[in-house]
C-alpha cells in the first residue's frame, strides 16, 4: 500500500455508485425473465423417474403403460442415452489418481443414490409427464449402501463401485517443514475431530433449461440457468457431436447460483438429447424435491486436526486429516476433488505457521454428489483452524485477539507463501484485526459477557481470521484438461447516438456484474454510466470467456472491460484528431465530452463525432476507416490467485435450557482491494455471511441409515429466514492487487468463509464455563443440549 501502483492508468471507479442497478429496477417491477418465464411454441416438458434406493441394480424397466398416456411424446432410459450422448468422467489431470466412473445422463444398470435420474419422460405438459412418471415400472434389486464418511472406510464396507478396490476416489498429501518435530517440541498441543454436516445450495430458482434444437440447420439454442454459458456450450458440442458455431447458450436472469449451476446434471443433458431427437424445444425445471435430491450437495467433512504451539502462543504446526464424502461420482467437469484440495490448503493460511502435514481422502458414498459451491473449502479450513486457535488461547490464557494478532502474517513478510503453498501478494490481517477490535468495542462486550454470566446468561464472542481465494489465474482448469476459459473478452461498440454497448463474457446472477462492468466502462471511457448498456450471458452476443465463478467476475471481468474502454477511448481520440485535423494527444474524453486537453474547452460531442463517422465518412480523408467497435481480451497474470483477507466476529447468546442460539451481532472487516461499488460489495458480504450462518446453525442434508434423503422439502431442510438473522456491520481495508490493472479482487466468498466459524467459536466461548464444547455442525439445539449434558447420549 505504501508503494506506488505499477498501473498508472488506474483511477477511482466512482461512476454510478449512487444509482440503483438497472436489473434491480426491472425485478422490482415484476419484469424478471427467468428460463421458466419464457414462452416457446411447441414446447415439450421433461419429468424424470428417480431411484427410490440409495444403491440398486436396475433389473427391468417397463414404459408401456406410461407411453400409452395421451400427451406422452417420448420416454428415454439410460440404455437409450448411451446411444444419444457421449459419457463423461469427472476427473482432471491436475488431480492425479482421481477416479470416477463413466456417467450417462440417466443411470445405466445401477442407481447409486436416492434421487438419481433413471428414466425420462417427455410430454405435452409437465403434469402429463409427471402422470407418466408414476406409470413407469422399474424393477430394482437393492444393494448395500454406503452412507456415512466413517462407513465409507470401515473394514468390509460395501463398495460404491464394484470395479474399484475401495471407496477412495482421491487422496493427496501436503507437507511443509517438519510437522512431527514441531509437535515433539511443542509446549501445547490442541486437538479435535470436527464433524461438519452436508449442506445444499437451495437457490430459489431451481435448475432450469429449455433446449431448442432446429434440425433444419442442426443448431441448438439452450436457454439455461447457468453461470457458465461458454462451458456449457462446449459440453453440449462435445457430448452431442454438434458444431461449436451451431450451439448457442443463453442465460437470461439466473435466480441464484452460488456455484451450484455450473456443473453437469443428467436431467439437463437429457433435455438436450430429447430436443435433438424430437426437433422441438424441451423444458426441464426441477421442482423443489428434485432440487434437494439432485442438485449438488456440499461440505460433508470429518476432520481430525491438531495444532502445536509454544507457551507464548506461537502456532508452529498443524497436522490435518480431512475426509470428505462426495457421493457416488466426482462431478463433471470440475471434479469433486477441488473442495477438499482447497480446504486442506486453507488450513492455518492466515498465520505464519511454518510446518504442516495435511492429508485428504475423498470418499465415495451412496448419497447425492457433492461439488464446488460458494467459498469452496473455505468454511472447512477456517472453521477447523479457528476452532483450534480458540481452544489453544483458552488453554494458554491468551485473549482470542492477542493470539491471532501474534500469529498472522505481517506486512514485512509479503510476498509470502503459506505452509500449504498459497502465494500471498499482500494482505492486511493486522489492520483488519485492529479495526474489528474497535468496531465491536471488544472490551465492553467482554465486560457485558462477564456480568451476564453472573446471572446465568451465557453469551459468547467468536472471532476468525480468513483468507479468500479470488481471481483464479491463467492455469485454472485448463491445465487439468478442462475446456473452461481463464481469459475473458469484451467488445465495446459506440452507437450512432454516441452511447456505448458493452458486451462481456462474465455473467450476472444478481451480484451486480452488469452494473459494475458499466461503472468500469464509464470510468475508463470518461462518460456517464447512464449511456452504457451491458450485455452478458449469451454465447452468440458476447466474446468467449470464463464467465462467473470463484469470485473472478469483478476482478478479471472488470480488468477486461477496463482495457477495452481505454482502447475505445484512445480510438475515439484518434477519430477526433482526424475529424478536427489535430493530434490525438491534443484531446481528452471526460465527462462525456471530447475536449481540448490544454484548455478543457469542448472540441466535439460524441454524437457529432458519430454522425460524421457513421454517416459522413465521405468527409474524412481517403482510406481512413474509423473503428467504431473495439474488442479486448484479458488474461490474469502473476500469482495463481489474488487472495483477499478479513476477519469476522459474532456475539450471541445460548439458551442453556433449550439449546437455542440467538445471534445478537455480526461484524466483518474485509479487504478486497479496489472497491468498485461499495453497496454491492457490502451486499455480497452480507449474503455470504448468511449462507455461512445457515450452514453452521440450521442446514443439514440428512439421510436415513438406508440412504433415504430425509430433508427433501423446505419444511425439513431449515435455511435462514429474516427473523433469525442479525444485522451485519461491515468495514473495509483496501489493499489493491498489482496483478491486474484494475486492482480489484473478488468478494463473493468472504462472507461465507468465516461466518460459520465465528458462530462455532462464540457458542464454545459462551459454554466454556460449563465445560461444554461443540464439534459437530450444524449447531442444532439437540447437539447443544447433548454437549451440555441436559440431554443424555
Amino acid at each position: 500500500m505504501t508503494q506506488p501502483s505499477k498501473h498508472p492508468e488506474r483511477i477511482a471507479v466512482i461512476a454510478g455508485q449512487d444509482r440503483p442497478r438497472r436489473n434491480a429496477i426491472r425485478h422490482a417491477q415484476g419484469r424478471g425473465r427467468f428460463v421458466d418465464d419464457i414462452a416457446f411454441a411447441n414446447l415439450a416438458h421433461l419429468a424424470v423417474v428417480r431411484s427410490p434406493h440409495a444403491h440398486a441394480e436396475i433389473r427391468h424397466i417397463d414404459v408401456s403403460r406410461a407411453l400409452a398416456i395421451p400427451g406422452v411424446v417420448a420416454i428415454y432410459t439410460g440404455e437409450d442415452m448411451t446411444k444419444l450422448c457421449k459419457p463423461w468422467v469427472g476427473a482432471l489431470d491436475h488431480f492425479p489418481g482421481l477416479r470416477s466412473p463413466e456417467q450417462y445422463p440417466l443411470a445405466v444398470d445401477r442407481a447409486c443414490w436416492n434421487g438419481e435420474p433413471v428414466v425420462a419422460v417427455v410430454a405435452e405438459s409437465r403434469a402429463i409427464a409427471e402422470d407418466a412418471v408414476d406409470q413407469v415400472e422399474v424393477a430394482y434389486d437393492a444393494l448395500p449402501a454406503v452412507i456415512g464418511i466413517r462407513a465409507s472406510r470401515a473394514p468390509g464396507t460395501p463398495l460404491v463401485h464394484p470395479q474399484y478396490d475401495s471407496n477412495l476416489a482421491f487422496e493427496m498429501t501436503l507437507t511443509a517443514g517438519d510437522a512431527e518435530a514441531a509437535f515433539e517440541a511443542a509446549d501445547l498441543v490442541v486437538e479435535d475431530v470436527l464433524d461438519l454436516g452436508r449442506q445444499t445450495g437451495l437457490t430459489l430458482e431451481p435448475r432450469s433449461i429449455v433446449a431448442d434444437y432446429d434440425p433444419s440447420l442442426q443448431t441448438l439454442t439452450a436457454h439455461h440457468s447457468t453461470q457458465t454459458p461458454y462451458q456449457m456450450q462446449d459440453l453440449f458440442v462435445r457430448h452431442f457431436d454438434l458444431s461449436e458455431e451451431n450451439v448457442r447458450v443463453i442465460s437470461p436472469d439466473v435466480g441464484g447460483s452460488f456455484g451450484m449451476k455450473l456443473h453437469v446434471y443428467g436431467e439437463e443433458m437429457v433435455a438436450v438429447a430429447a430436443s435433438i431427437q424430437l426437433g422441438r424445444p424441451v423444458k426441464f425445471v426441477a421442482d423443489r424435491m428434485e432440487s434437494f435430491l439432485s442438485d449438488i450437495h456440499l461440505r460433508e467433512h470429518l476432520v481430525h486436526a491438531k495444532m502445536a504451539l509454544s507457551k507464548d502462543g506461537d502456532i508452529t504446526a498443524m497436522i490435518v486429516e480431512d475426509e470428505t464424502g462426495i457421493g457416488p461420482f466426482s462431478v463433471y467437469p470440475r471434479t469433486s476433488a477441488m473442495e477438499g484440495n482447497q480446504a486442506l490448503r486453507l488450513m492455518g493460511a492466515p498465520y505464519k505457521m511454518p510446518n504442516y502435514d495435511g492429508h485428504l481422502s475423498v470418499l465415495f458414498q451412496n448419497k447425492a454428489p457433492t461439488c464446488q459451491y460458494r467459498a469452496v473449502g473455505h468454511p472447512i479450513g477456517v472453521t477447523v483452524t479457528e476452532h483450534l486457535v480458540d481452544k489453544a488461547a483458552r488453554q494458554l490464557g491468551l485473549d482470542p485477539f492477542d493470539i491471532r494478532q501474534r500469529n498472522v502474517v505481517t506486512q514485512d513478510m509479503y510476498p509470502h507463501t503459506t505452509a500449504t503453498g498459497y502465494i500471498l501478494e499482500r494482505l492486511s490481517h493486522e489492520e483488519c484485526l485492529t479495526r474489528l477490535h474497535d468496531m465491536m468495542d471488544y472490551p465492553s462486550l467482554r465486560a457485558e459477557q462477564a456480568a451476564l454470566r453472573e446471572k446465568g446468561i451465557y453469551r459468547g464472542i467468536g472471532i476468525a481470521a480468513f483468507i479468500e481465494i479470488t481471481n483464479p489465474g491463467p492455469a485454472f482448469y485448463g491445465i487439468g484438461g478442462a475446456r473452461i476459459s481463464s481469459q475473458d473478452g469484451c467488445v465495446i461498440k459506440i452507437e450512432p447516438s454516441g452511447k456505448f454497448r458493452v458486451s462481456v463474457s462474465v455473467t450476472e446472477q444478481g451480484q451486480g456484474t452488469e452494473t459494475v462492468m458499466a461503472q468500469v466502462a464509464a470510468t475508463y471511457l470518461g462518460v456517464d454510466v447512464g449511456i452504457i448498456d451491458v450485455t452478458t450471458g449469451d454465447t452468440e452476443r458476447t466474446p468467449y470467456g470464463g464467465a462467473t465463478w470463484a469470485s473472478r467476475g469483478a476482478g478479471i471481468g472488470g480488468a477486461t472491460v477496463m482495457k477495452c474502454a481505454l482502447a475505445m477511448k484512445a480510438n475515439l481520440l484518434e477519430i477526433t484528431a482526424v475529424v478536427l485535423q489535430g493530434k490525438p494527444e491534443d484531446y481528452d474524453l471526460t465527462n462525456g465530452e471530447i475536449v481540448f486537453k490544454e484548455t478543457g474547452q469542448s472540441a466535439i460531442t460524441l454524437d457529432e463525432l458519430c454522425r460524421i463517422a457513421y454517416f459522413r465518412p465521405d468527409t474524412l480523408p481517403p482510406d481512413y476507416h474509423p473503428q467504431l467497435s473495439i474488442s479486448r481480451h484479458f488474461v490474469p497474470q502473476g500469482t495463481p490467485f489474488d487472495f483477499t483477507n478479513g476477519v469476522q466476529a459474532s456475539y450471541l447468546e445460548v439458551d442453556t435450557q433449550t439449546g437455542i442460539v440467538t445471534l445478537l451481532d455480526h461484524w466483518v472487516v474485509e479487504d478486497c482491494g479496489v472497491i468498485l461499488n461499495k453497496q454491492l460489495v457490502d451486499e455480497q458480504i452480507r449474503g455470504g455471511v448468511v449462507h455461512g450462518l445457515g450452514g453452521i446453525l440450521f442446514e443439514e442434508c440428512l439421510y436415513s441409515d438406508s440412504g433415504q434423503m430425509l430433508t427433501s422439502t423446505m419444511a425439513d431442510y431449515l435455511a435462514p429466514l429474516a427473523a433469525e438473522m442479525p444485522d451485519i456491520q461491515i468495514d473495509h481495508v483496501c489493499t489493491p492487487t498489482e496483478m491486474t490493472p484494475l486492482g480489484a479482487k473478488g468478494v463473493g466468498e468472504a462472507g461465507t468463509a468465516a461466518a460459520g466459524s465465528v458462530v462455532l467459536n462464540a457458542v464454545n466461548d459462551a459454554l466454556s464455563p460449563l465445560d461444554a464444547t461443540l464439534t459437530q455442525t450444524p449447531l442444532t439445539p439437540e447437539r447443544i443440549l447433548r454437549a451440555l449434558g441436559v440431554v443424555a447420549d
Binding site: 434491480a24 427467468f34 421458466d36
Partner: protein, 163 residues
Amino acid sequence: MDPQYPISFTLNGREVRQEVSTRTTLADLLRHQIGLTATHVGCEQGSCGACSLMVDGRMIRSCLVFAIQLDGAVVETAEGFAEDPVMDALRKGFADRNALQCGFCTGGMLVAARDLLNRETAPSREVIREFISGNFCRCTGYEAIVDAISQVAQATAQPQDAV
C-alpha cells in the same frame, strides 16, 4: 387432457375468463396460461413465499390455491398494484437499497412488505423481520430488505397530528 372448467375473476383490476383443470394451481394459471410471470414458484408447498399475492385482500401462497377456487375473486399479483403509493414506494425503495440480488424472491417479498405496511405504518426492524419470515431469500441476507421496508415506512408514515 384434463377436463376444463370456466372461471372468471378480477386480475390486477381487469375481468378475466379462463378455462382451468381441477389440478391447476393459481400460480401455474398465472404463469403458464395467462403469462404473468412475476409470481415465481420456488417450492410448491407454501414454504418459500415467492408466489405470494393478494386474493380478496388477503395475502396467500398461489402455489397452494387451485385456480378453480378463484371464481369471482379479486386477485392482485406482483405485476399489479397500479397507483398503489405504498407499492410504488417499495419498488423504488427496493431498487435504491439493492434489496434484491437475483430477483426471484422479489415479487413475493414486495407483496409481503406492502401487506405489512398496510397493517402497521411504523413497524420496528424486529417486526419487519418477523413478518417477512415467510419469504425466503438466498441472496441478500435480508438486511437490505429490512432497510428498504423500514425506510419506506418512515418516508410514507403520516405524522399523527397532520391527519
